[in-house]
């Protein structure tokens, strides 16, 4: 008899072949799909995350785990309504105007997705207006901008200005990162958060979402 722990173990091991049977077993046993997701599938990724942060797991392994989780999800999702699919929050991410550096951003996307966020990846060389457009279209909680060049870091500033001009700045939290970016720079240009690696970036988003929840509870 499969257990929730088997599922999370399977995710941890990135065992893409094994996950279907395990999840199907649990579904057949009548286990609450939400529980399968939260304690089994995402539960597995919750073990993965600290292992990745401490250097005990590589990105390709994390990706396998994430793929495994997603494979499991495919079976469970049809059983619940869209609103019930747990998402920690919605995040839009892109590398700024003029900048083609991709990999840091991609890792961030992967880590966020694997920790339960819904992520919309706008790609690289994302113009200022494209950020606004995406905010209006997707109504995210958080907007992330990556910049790897000293000559594109100012595009973070111009993008924030654009969001302000377009009246959508206050709807979102803004996080920024990349080689030349620092906490001070983030503060200077009016971003809400900065992080120098993907793992702590996820923690940063978690904190932001918590705050947002608290504010909502307070009815603010």
């Amino acid at each position: 008899m499969a257990t929730l722990q088997d599922v999370s173990q399977c995710v941890l091991e990135g065992d893409l072949d094994g996950i279907k049977d395990l999840v199907q077993d649990l579904i057949n046993e009548g286990v609450d799909p939400i529980l399968i997701i939260n304690e089994g599938l995402i539960g597995g990724m919750n073990i993965v995350a600290p292992l990745f942060k401490s250097g005990e797991m590589f990105v390709p392994e994390v990706m396998e785990s994430a793929d495994t989780m997603n494979e499991g999800m495919k079976l469970v999702k049809p059983l619940i309504t869209d609103e019930d699919v747990p998402s920690k929050g919605k995040i839009i991410i892109g590398t700024v105007n003029g900048d083609l550096h991709d990999i840091g951003k991609n890792l961030l996307v992967m880590m966020l997705e694997s920790r339960g966020y819904t992520v919309i990846d706008l790609g690289v060389d994302v113009k200022e207006e494209a950020f606004t457009k995406a905010v209006i279209e997707h109504q995210p909680n958080i907007v992330g901008m990556s910049s790897l060049l000293t000559t594109t870091m100012m595009k973070i500033e111009s993008t924030i200005k654009q969001l302000i001009a377009d009246g959508v700045r206050d709807q979102v939290k803004i996080i920024v990162g990349g080689a030349p970016v620092t906490q001070e720079f983030a503060d200077d240009v009016g971003a809400d958060g900065y992080s120098d690696d993907a793992s702590t970036a996820v923690e940063l988003c978690d904190r932001m979402m918590e705050e947002q929840c608290k504010l909502q509870e307070l009815g603010v």
């Binding site: 990105v59 990999i103 890792l107 060389d125 000293t150 000559t151």
Partner: protein, 458 residues
Amino acid sequence: MTKKFTELAYTKMDDFVYGSCPNPVTTKSGMVIGGGLVYPEINFTLPGMDINDETMPKAATIYANIIEGVLKRAAELYAPGVLVEFETLPDFTEHPKYGIEANKILLEGMKEAADKYGLKTAIRTTPNDLREFSRPPVMRGGKYWETMLELYEQCAKDGSDFLSIESTGGKEIHDSALVKADIRLAIFALGILGVNDMEFLWNHLVALSDSNSCFAAGDSACGFANTAMILAEKGFIPHVFAAVIRVAAVPRALVAFEQGAVGPSKDCAYEGPYLKAITGMPISMEGKSAAGAHLSPCGNIAAAVADAWSNESIQQVKLLSDMAPVVGMEQLIYDIRLMNAATEKGQQVMFRDLLVQSDSPLDVQAYVLRPDVVMRISSELVKTQDNFLRTKIAAKLTVEELKKAIAEGKVKSDKRDLKWLDKMEKGIDSIPDDPDKFYQEMKAVLDMDKFIPSEYGL
């Protein structure tokens, strides 16, 4: 009309050493790169700023200050000569007038230093590969291609000594190979897409150089193997994977030389030692003195067979002593002083071996830069002229070298390394020798939104 490299450029290991090579290159100012001395190659970049018509005067002043500062320090420290690299930021290629202006400013600064201090200098101009601004990248025509050529041509006419690029053909596919540590995909990206693009690109760059009396110097697998190195350094992918990518990137870089490039190869091309072993042409390398640009596990060994020694690049920011590029220049000069002092005493081989010994047992990426490993693998690579097959063989031989070295305790390894080596070995062995066949196989897994086959002659 392309050159074929069918045998090694060296017969004796003791000749394979920094500072000299069978085919040195002489600059307009008379520096002989690969002629005995190692030269510093200084690199620099702008601090945080926007680039547009309004800010260009400021950027111009910054470049003028940089070149004045670094060459003054070079003269004070009696540098035997200085290789300057102008690696453009995207705005300077997209708007060739900016790039041309900056390049001219550097050329003027070099002239001033010659007049004032009698300092010999030469400049390498390295526009960034603009073609990837189209998504998917358009490699063989279009406005980005034209714009890029415009910059190259004018800089060559204005007096640049060397033309280089860190070209990115195939990177759009290689990126995901890296984060998945997928060796089959990586070999496809390097050995088919990369190689095909290099043939096209360097054919043009060599022609352009020839008709403007400057040298086509060489390319770098920066977007491939250095990205891998950085990811490994951050603990994101296995070090063994990055080490294999490094060597698998050699055939791709070699294409530039087949097309007529003469070196010195690009500083960030850590595959340089292989290029030197095969072509006998000078190489530029970067290591510990480039730590401000990126950390690396090859700080010393990178210098073992280098002909120019670079700091990769650092912003014009003030440190406590002076501006960061001046600091970089000082560090490079002390490094090369030491190497050249050993040469003067006839101890260059011994010094080379210390550079090698100090790093190579500690990281697999350093290990694959060992001159003996380089020679062994290179001697196999020259046996075939098919660059796809070379890529596959390079990867395979590297896996074998590393397995052996780890088994014999010659290099530190992570407990997970063997698993990954096995995995890579399986992957490599599953690749057919025929590139067309391989392409057909790969079609099933390739994300066709990401690249345009015809742009790679496919």
